[in-house]
């Protein structure tokens, strides 16, 4: 009971922190702009090239996941914001004020996760829905989907959840590493570079390992079909969420004993 009261007080505090810095709002706006803007760009290019695509490619074209592909870039904006939620406190020394006000550090971390997860989920879902509707509108003359199609709603919701998950992953890395540059490097490496490197391994190792990495596992949330061997959506969700939660868990263990 005691700790619930402290947690709620900190949720309020973290909410104030999040919205009282202008760069937060910028990062959230950029996440939205990239998700929606890239969707529009990809979809219009696809429409322009449609007739040259060939019959086979036209048949396997899957418009739902395709309209959400902007997420592969916008995940960086939300992930970096997640990193900054933590590392900016260390960088400015504010972390000492935070822990002097709330010495139970796990509670602070939980409050940050809660607030940032909700904020990035809302932004993620808005971005995902907007990208979907705009994308389908652009694709409508060729091959498009509606939200009532099988799997469509799940994929669109999944896109928002993916973004929120990457945001929390960034936050967890920020707790572990404390430095902005280092945490961003690890974030970019794990969601963008690692899948490319694993690709270079001899088959079947590349496929076996690749599907467990955060982005391929998380991609099962917003893609309906996949051209590569991948996990089922259920297992994918589980594996994907293990990254943000695992990072936060490691961060929590470190936080408990580390000097602020």
């Amino acid at each position: 009971m005691e700790s619930i009261i402290v947690l709620w007080a900190n949720v309020r505090a973290e909410w104030v922190k999040l919205r009282s810095v202008r760069s937060t709002l910028w990062a959230l706006a950029i996440t939205m702009a990239i998700t929606v803007g890239l969707s529009a760009l990809f979809c219009s290019t696809r429409v322009a090239r449609w007739d040259r695509m060939g019959r086979g490619a036209q048949l396997i074209f899957e418009p739902i996941g395709f309209s959400l592909n902007g997420i592969f870039l916008s995940q960086l904006a939300i992930g970096v914001l997640g990193v900054l939620v933590m590392t900016s406190e260390y960088g400015t020394g504010q972390i000492r004020a935070t822990f002097a006000a709330t010495p139970t550090r796990g509670t602070v971390l939980l409050a940050k996760m809660k607030v940032f997860f909700l904020a990035s989920l809302v932004v993620g879902e808005i971005s995902s829905f907007a990208a979907f509707f705009l994308g389908q509108a652009i694709l409508s003359s060729k091959s498009s989907a509606s939200l009532t199609d099988p799997g469509a709603l799940r994929a669109v919701l999944g896109g928002g959840l993916y973004l929120a998950g990457i945001g929390i992953f960034g936050l967890g890395l920020g707790v572990i590493l404390r430095r902005t540059a280092g945490a961003i490097a690890v974030l970019v490496a794990s969601v963008m570079i690692l899948p490319q490197l694993v690709e270079l391994l001899p088959s079947p190792w590349n496929d076996d390992i690749s599907k467990y990495l955060p982005s391929p596992a998380g991609q099962t949330l917003f893609h309906i079909t996949s051209t590569r061997p991948s996990l089922s959506t259920g297992v994918g969700l589980f594996v994907f969420l293990a990254y943000p939660l695992g990072a936060c868990l490691i961060g929590w263990v470190l936080l408990r004993t580390r000097d602020a």
């Binding site: 005691e2 009261i5 402290v6 007080a9 900190n10 309020r12 505090a13 973290e14 104030v16 922190k17 009282s20 810095v21 202008r22 760069s23 900016s88 406190e89 400015t92 020394g93 504010q94 972390i95 000492r96 004020a97 935070t98 822990f99 002097a100 006000a101 709330t102 010495p103 139970t104 004993t257 000097d259 602020a260």
Partner: protein, 316 residues
């Protein structure tokens, strides 16, 4: 009441705080003195549970700091390093702090008023001068109207106006009967504001007590006697266990025997005295003498000249 027991902090092979046991009395301003690198900031961070001790413990009002549910109501702190996000406004900073400890929002405006920052409440803290930043830090410390305050070098780097302001603020805290631990590497600063002193050097406790005690405990404090019968009085006093040094003009500087006892011995032995007077060390002398063996940067601290030639301790 703040207490530390055998508090120790080691950074690698550097012993920053070395088995420090001290208690900070309630309702007083305690000056926490020591040269740079003595371990003051580290001790304060350990009291606040920001750094974990290598061994030993610190308690605030009988509890570990981390066991206080909403600590800002009980303990306010101003740390040495800035702990404010520069992109946030003064009010924004105080607002999240207030929320984290369930302090009513109206208190934010009260403390801004208290430290004279109301006019810049909506300005970003990043643009604040050192003095304004320090005021914001003090506003944050006062947010929960705490009975206990920990202030780490609050006047460091301030301009004269800021120094005067902090001093009068400290005095007002004392007048309100709050428990204040304020660190400084300047004895003179503490003499103006502190009731009680704790002196540390190289992480170890050197002296604690009232300002008068600490000064009296200094070997620069002694009794000056002038007499035409120097050698006779000297033998009487050394027999009594006194530490005596001779000076020009038939003067003796005497330590380890009280002034009353010296007067009595002189009368008993019919020694004529021309002067019998207590010589208090200055605060700075006492401090330098206490810490000159322990400072990290010893060159900054000149030990007082040897007592036999000193003219120190004259009326001051």
């Amino acid at each position: 009441m703040i207490e530390t027991t055998e508090l120790t902090k080691r950074y690698g092979d550097k012993l920053a705080v070395d088995h420090l046991t001290m208690s900070i009395p309630s309702g007083q301003v305690t000056g926490f003195l020591g040269p740079n690198g003595a371990g003051k900031s580290t001790t304060m961070r350990m009291i606040l549970d920001l750094d974990s001790p290598t061994s030993g413990s610190a308690k605030v009002n009988g509890r570990r700091y981390r066991d206080i549910r909403f600590p800002l109501h009980e303990v306010g702190s101003l740390l040495e390093a800035k702990s404010v996000h520069p992109a946030r406004t003064a009010r924004g900073h105080l607002q999240w702090l207030a929320d984290s400890n369930r302090i009513p929002r109206k208190r934010v405006d009260e403390v801004l008023e208290l430290v004279g920052l109301s006019a810049v409440a909506k300005k970003r803290a990043g643009g604040f001068s050192l003095g304004m930043g320090q005021r914001l830090g003090i506003a944050a410390a006062m947010l929960g109207d705490p009975q206990t305050l920990l202030l780490d070098e609050p006047v460091n780097g301030l301009d004269p106006e800021g120094i005067v302001w902090v001093r009068s603020f400290l005095r007002s805290l004392a007048a309100e009967g709050r428990t204040v631990l304020v660190s400084s590497h300047l004895m003179s600063e503490m003499a103006l504001t502190a009731d009680h002193l704790i002196v540390i050097g190289a992480g170890r406790l050197i002296s604690q007590g009232s300002v008068a005690d600490v000064v009296a405990g200094s070997s620069s404090s002694h009794v000056l006697v002038r007499t035409p019968e120097v050698s006779r009085l000297m033998s009487v006093l050394t027999a009594e266990g006194a530490e005596v040094s001779t000076d020009v003009d038939h003067a003796l500087r005497i330590r380890k025997v009280s002034i009353e006892r010296i007067g009595q011995l002189a009368a008993d032995n019919a020694v004529v005295l021309h002067e019998l007077s207590p010589q208090a060390a200055s605060l700075e002398q006492a401090f330098m003498e206490l810490t000159h063996d322990s400072g990290e940067y010893q060159t900054e601290l000149k030990p007082p000249p040897p007592p036999s030639t000193t003219s120190a301790g004259g009326p001051n």
